[in-house]
């Protein structure tokens, strides 16, 4: 204690505290016991507002994509990982492919009894010269049934998305007219020549589906293309004379119903080992191969209408 220290400093020293405890002046617990009551919860409007403002500020910052560095970084990172992933996928697939059976050779698992029977007995069993057509419309007709319904459901979704109601349709029509090439002479002239040719070609493809390359889908697509060309050349006014939504609806309905019922009959008889009454006909003739031709026609109709409908929907949102 040779040099005098100020009291406040002295009171902080360990010695002082020790001495206080020694002499019984200090209690370890006293400070703990006399506590103030806990505050009741008070809804604080100010704080809430401030919180809200802060929240907004944060949100602004988050959505400020131009200046958000971390977002940029994240994008970069995302892209980099995606690219890496894709490179990895390429490598993986290439490796896989390198182990696959050699293409073009005969002795592969693919060329087994299944393909053999299709080729050897296909003509006999389905009556279709085009083995592929026979396969997809008879051997594996269930897939094809599904496939046509994929198309159907896609049309439905497009309708849901793009079909407009009455008033919207009128507006859309007005705006559409503005962009429509009106009375484009060259187009109309060419169309006059080409459309029948295209449609006839399409019909040919459909009808020969079981005899050669082609079939309902390809033919229908060609016909659809012809219709689209016609629409482009002559406008909705002209097409609506023979093709409206109603037409589309009923054509689709009848085609698909026919498809469904026909195939159901075929499946049912097949599964129950019943005799099917549908004649196979002479291989090579147009009217041959049992249900394949009618089914091709049905599919063709559906596809043609659908292609046209897609176009009309995309362009205007209605027929």
């Amino acid at each position: 204690m040779s040099k005098k220290r100020p009291a406040s400093e002295y009171q902080k020293t360990f010695a002082f505290r020790f001495f206080r405890w020694l002499s019984g002046e200090k209690d370890p617990y006293i400070g703990e016991m006399e506590m103030h009551p806990q505050e009741e919860y008070q809804p604080d409007r100010e704080a809430a507002l401030r919180h809200e403002r802060e929240h907004d500020a944060i949100m602004d910052k988050v959505y400020d994509t131009e200046h958000n560095r971390s977002l940029h970084l994240f994008h970069r990172l995302y892209q980099a990982t995606s690219i890496l992933f894709c490179l990895f996928l390429i490598a993986l697939l290439l490796v896989t492919i390198s182990y696959l059976p050699a293409t073009g050779t005969v002795n592969r698992p693919v060329n087994n009894e299944v393909a053999k029977r299709y080729i050897e007995k296909g003509l006999e069993e389905t009556g279709a010269v085009n083995i592929v057509a026979g396969m997809i419309l008879d051997y594996r007709a269930f897939d094809t049934l599904g496939e046509s319904h994929v198309l159907f459901v896609a049309t439905i979704t497009v309708l849901i998305l793009l079909r407009l109601n009455k008033t919207q349709k009128d507006e859309a029509e007005i705006s559409d007219r503005r962009f429509e090439p009106k009375n484009d002479a060259i187009l109309q002239l060419v169309a006059t020549f080409l459309v029948p040719v295209i449609i006839i070609f399409g019909i040919y493809i459909i009808l020969n589906g079981h005899l050669g390359p082609g079939g309902g889908f390809s033919g229908g697509a060609v016909i659809g293309a012809g219709l689209v060309l016609y629409l482009n050349a002559f406008g909705f006014k002209k097409t609506e004379r023979f093709f409206t939504e109603k037409t589309y609806k009923w054509v689709c309905f009848f085609s698909l119903s026919f498809y469904c019922l026909a195939k159901s009959y075929s499946f049912y008889t097949g599964a129950n080992q019943l005799h099917s009454v549908i004649p196979k006909g002479t291989p090579g003739a147009i009217l041959s191969s049992g249900l394949i031709l009618p089914l091709n026609i049905a599919v063709g109709l559906v596809v043609a209408c659908t292609i046209y409908a897609f176009y009309a929907m995309f362009r205007k949102g209605g027929f």
């Binding site: 405890w21 020694l22 002499s23 019984g24 002046e25 200090k26 209690d27 617990y29 006293i30 016991m33």
Partner: protein
């Protein structure tokens, strides 16, 4: 047997009766006029209790079981000489302080509460002295804490309440430390009945003797709290200044002795001195007591508030006793028990003197008390004699006890401590003289520049002075017949 029970339960019931019968009105005004019935009743109860307590040892010396807490935990009472010694001290001090407080408590509120708890305390103390096993002892040790706490915080100020709580928690802390030991002892002892020489199982000692030593140490520390031993002494200087003076007297003279009694019981009657002697426990314990002795005196020496100074003094003096117990030979034990008596009477007398001063003059600090001897000569004479007793000037009891203590220590043959102990005791005695006698000197010889004009006779009433006189005379009496008393004690120690 009945007297034991009566000496225990009569005051407790009487206290409860007082508490309920004399419920003070809530408005908080003083009871004032209708003090008399309360005082009379209390006086009667006190005397009856004292009679019972004196009669108890005369009528029954074999133990009996009151009831069983659980199948293996009897509440068992038995009177032996040590208990009797403590009981003697307790009864005398409580009687004197009780009568002293009749006039002292005039300026305090809620007297009935004070007397109620005072009586309960009386009963509990009796029970403590007569307790025949550790569980019973523990039970009443806890109750002692609880019933004495209201006395400490009686005056109701914030400091008083805090001090009361502090006292409570320190004591409980100690009690729980002891309980920790009891838990283990129960498994390592044949019985928990107090038996001279200890009750430890042989197997337990051989198996985990080390752990038992730790247990003993924890118990010593725990009970040492009550006796104000070093690390847990801090409650004493806080509790004494705020308590009413008679309560302080009881606290300092008797209640802290309960801690001593506990230590006697566990060292002598549970563990047995043979088990503890020469172990690290003894060494550490002695060191702690010596530290306490010295520290208490030093703190007292630099303390300006009178009652606090006395409290520090109690800390220091009690550790004389504990030191003696820690030495664990016959001489030191005699010294300790002698010191119990001597210190008990002396400290009670000192506190009552201080109380008288406070009651009459309201002065609490030592430097305010210049010339007090002129105002209250009788009180100051008593103070002086008692001080001399505490310092250990022959022919007072203090001298005898210190003599025996030093003797025991020197005979113990412990390394270093056997000499260091007496030296520290001596130094402490000097310090004691240093902090007690200045009051006498300044009180009687306030110095040349002192203005005598403001002085007036302030000698208190007889109800106050008589107890002080009795208490002052007793240490002198035992100091005059040291051999007799020591012989009795020796008999008690041997015949345990």
């Amino acid at each position: 047997m009945y007297f034991i029970l009566l000496s225990i339960f009569f005051p407790i019931l009487a206290g409860l009766f007082l508490l309920i019968r004399f419920r003070t009105p809530l408005s908080g005004e003083k009871a004032g006029t209708d003090r008399k019935p309360l005082l009379v009743l209390t006086g009667i109860f006190l005397v009856i209790t004292a009679v019972f307590a004196f009669a108890a040892p005369l009528t029954a010396r074999e133990g009996f079981t009151l009831f069983y807490l659980t199948e293996t935990l009897p509440i068992y009472f038995r009177i032996d000489s040590v208990g009797q010694l403590f009981s003697l001290l307790a009864v005398i001090v409580l009687l004197c302080a009780g009568f002293f407080s009749f006039s002292y408590m005039k300026h305090e509120e809620r007297e009935s509460r004070y007397y109620g708890f005072y009586l309960i305390l009386f009963g509990v103390l009796n029970a403590l002295c007569f307790a025949g096993n550790l569980i019973t002892f523990y039970l009443f040790f806890e109750l002692l804490t609880l019933s004495s706490m209201p006395l400490v915080l009686h005056n109701g100020s914030r400091e008083a309440i805090m001090a009361g709580l502090k006292y409570l928690f320190y004591s409980l802390c100690g009690a729980y430390g002891a309980l920790f030991g009891i838990y283990f002892l129960y498994q390592s002892c044949d019985t928990l009945t107090f038996t001279a020489g200890g009750v430890l199982k042989e197997t337990a000692v051989t198996q985990h003797g080390g752990f038992l030593l730790l247990t003993a140490f924890v118990m010593l520390l725990g009970f040492g709290v009550k006796a104000g031993m070093f690390p847990m002494h801090a409650w004493l200087p806080t509790a004494h200044p705020v308590a009413p003076a008679p309560a302080s007297a009881v606290l300092s003279a008797v209640i802290v002795k309960a801690g001593v009694l506990a230590v006697v019981r566990i060292t002598g009657y549970i563990f047995g001195t043979g088990f503890l002697r020469g172990t690290w426990v003894q060494t550490v314990w002695m060191c702690l007591t010596l530290i306490t002795v010295f520290m208490g005196s030093m703190l007292a020496y630099r303390e300006p508030v009178l009652k606090k100074r006395l409290a520090y003094s109690t800390v220091s003096q009690l550790s004389y006793i504990l030191f003696g117990l820690a030495v664990m030979n016959e001489a030191s034990l005699v010294g300790s028990l002698f010191q119990v008596l001597a210190h008990g009477f002396v400290k009670a007398a000192l506190f009552l003197c201080a109380g008288a001063i406070i009651y009459k003059t309201g002065k609490t600090r030592v430097e305010e008390m210049r010339g007090i001897g002129k105002e209250m000569p009788l009180t100051m004479w008593c103070w002086t004699i008692a001080s001399l007793g505490l310092v250990g000037i022959p022919p007072t009891g203090g001298f005898v006890s210190k003599w025996y203590l030093a003797l025991g220590s020197l005979k113990s043959g412990l390394p270093v401590l056997d000499v260091l102990g007496p030296i520290i005791l001596l130094v402490s005695a000097l310090l004691t003289a240093g902090y007690l006698l200045p009051l006498t000197i300044h009180g009687f010889f306030p110095g040349g520049d002192y203005d005598y004009s403001g002085l007036q006779k302030k000698e208190p009433r007889k109800l106050m002075t008589v107890p002080i006189l009795i208490l002052t005379s007793l240490p002198v009496v035992i100091g005059l017949f040291p051999d007799t008393i020591a012989g009795i004690i020796l008999m008690a120690v041997k015949g345990r």
